[in-house]
Symmetry: C2
Subunit: 341 residues, 2 copies
């Protein structure tokens, strides 16, 4: 696993780095050979490997090799190229297809992955969301999980998932300019439709969380007809809202950098710090909501987040009810919260 | 594992039941053979097995077999004999010695143990307490773990451990008449010294706890010189406080029955219900405390439990500080909270 996951000493990563350093100019096979510790013949094979990964490499005998284009695929060395984070996304493990990045990350964490280790896939065949519900994760989106070891009390677990949704909101804004709205607990909306979601699975004891695996799904370049019929009215993608596709890797880096900042704040300040930040971000407070917490369903106005990041809902009677877990539906409001791009 | 753990169809359990039903009278080998589906020869072997387990059985040719005395060992059929619980302690898995009942219970839970399944050991070689600290668990005590699957939000985790300490306090009172005092979060004290402790390990997601393994340790019949020197001033046992030993199995049943009630209340009412019960039980509220939550240590008066079961401590400045996790030391107070028995 570490071999697959770490980018540092990987020949492919070194080859990409050497070609990138030439900024579009040819690099001789001899020079590449020295940089990579390979024969010129092995270098030709390595260039073939790069082409199979989606790199456009021009190779001309006598001139050498030139990088023409880079694939928009979250390969470890591409994600980490210029990634401005302290913990998050170090190292990266990329897979084209997997059952669920949550399962891979959890297992990787149990066998010792560093805090911040990232598992990212182009496609999940058994993606799951909150409460183990199936989660639709085809090609075109960003589906990833992070191994975290937050030395915080378990009362902070809800705050961790809210901190992650704040980071996704910020990352989306940095990557696309779109202002998404946070819907408690874990959805990120554009024009009332879900564009991204967050989940956290964890273990711990009554004093401390031990391992938390944070799962994030962002509908980046999904087309309308890519969604199953039952999701079309409730889901959207960055591409649909923006009218053009977004590159996946830079978008992922924006989200990872925001996650790094918000995770740091969470570690320092816990629930109260996250709660303050969430209240200031575009969110669904003030909206009429239906709270579905079986066997009960009831309605009210979402008025506030308490310091444990539970939602306070005011009933028609004027009483406040606290929601620590459950599903929220936004009822048709007087206006949209966020302008559609 | 199920074979080891379930008592129902176990020949030994059936033999004990048949002998107990005779209330000290002889039961003929023929009759026992019919009840157990065994030959008379196999019955003699079965009686030998019972003797090895610590049962005193008188066997006389021509008369049959008579139960003279029962060992005070938490064998599954002894624990379950007359156990008035709905979920807790069904089934029971007993081991003389194990590394840690927590580890056994967690694994058993992962492979499908019923909710309420109990793992109990006479001795643990690697007992651990909160924050993975070593926990002293020699012969003479009750060391056990329960597999639970509380369908509650993770914000309730602290409440689950407090509910368990309430149950231990009640069980101790039922078994011994002693009134113990609850020290937040998880200690049960007699005369300022720790007599029992509780820990909870769990996994889940932001919406629900999936599995929780509740560990309980009670110093029942430990002698003063059984404690390591560094614990002698801070730990005690029921035997030391009472001046006589207590039978382990009935004590365990008292605690399991209290756990059953408190767990039920927890499932129905969550943190708020547990908080109300804890406030009414003999506890350390009102005491001067030192709060050790690295890197900080500070002092104040423990004044209240909030609805998430976090401790509220009033500083000299008059400000309230909330403690969601940490260690508490009771400072020498004006008087003992509980009369020494």
């Amino acid at each position: 696993m570490p071999g697959l996951a770490s980018a540092g000493d990987d020949t492919t990563a070194l080859a990409v780095r050497a070609l990138k350093a030439a900024r579009g100019q040819f690099v001789s096979g001899e020079e590449l050979g020295r940089a990579l510790g390979l024969s010129r013949n092995a270098i030709w094979k390595q260039m073939e490997t790069l082409r199979q990964l989606g790199y456009q490499v021009q190779s001309i005998r006598g001139l050498g090799h030139r990088l023409v284009d880079v694939p928009d695929v979250p390969l470890p060395w591409e994600v980490m190229d210029g990634l401005a984070t302290r913990r998050i996304g170090r190292p990266v493990w990329y897979m084209d297809t997997t059952t669920s990045t949550q399962d891979v990350a959890r297992h990787w964490g149990q066998v010792g992955a560093a805090e911040g280790a990232l598992v990212v896939a182009t496609e999940q065949t058994s993606g799951r969301g909150r409460m183990r519900r199936p989660y639709f994760t085809p090609r075109g989106g960003l589906w990833f999980s992070l191994v975290l070891r937050p030395a915080r009390p378990p009362l902070d677990i809800l705050a961790l998932s809210l901190a992650a949704s704040l980071a996704v909101q910020e990352g989306i804004r940095a990557a696309s300019g779109l202002t998404a709205v946070l819907k408690w607990p874990n959805d990120v909306l554009l024009g009332e439709r879900k564009v991204a979601g967050v989940m956290v699975e964890f273990d711990g004891d009554q004093d401390r969380l031990h391992q938390a695996v944070l799962g994030v799904g962002i509908n980046v370049n999904l087309d309308a007809d890519a969604f199953p019929a039952e999701l079309r009215d409730r889901a959207t993608s960055l591409k649909l809202e923006l009218g053009r596709p977004l590159p996946l890797v830079p978008t992922l880096r924006c989200v990872l950098e925001a996650l790094d900042r918000h995770y740091e704040r969470f570690l320092e300040g816990g629930s109260e710090a996250v709660c303050l930040a969430w209240r200031l971000a575009p969110n669904m407070l003030g909206r009429e909501v239906r709270v579905i917490s079986p066997p009960d369903t009831w309605e009210g106005t979402a008025v506030e987040l308490d310091r444990d990041c539970a939602l306070l809902v005011r009933l028609a009677s004027g009483d406040l009810r606290r929601v620590a877990a459950g599903d929220i539906e936004l009822l048709p409001g007087v206006e949209r919260l966020a302008p559609r791009a």
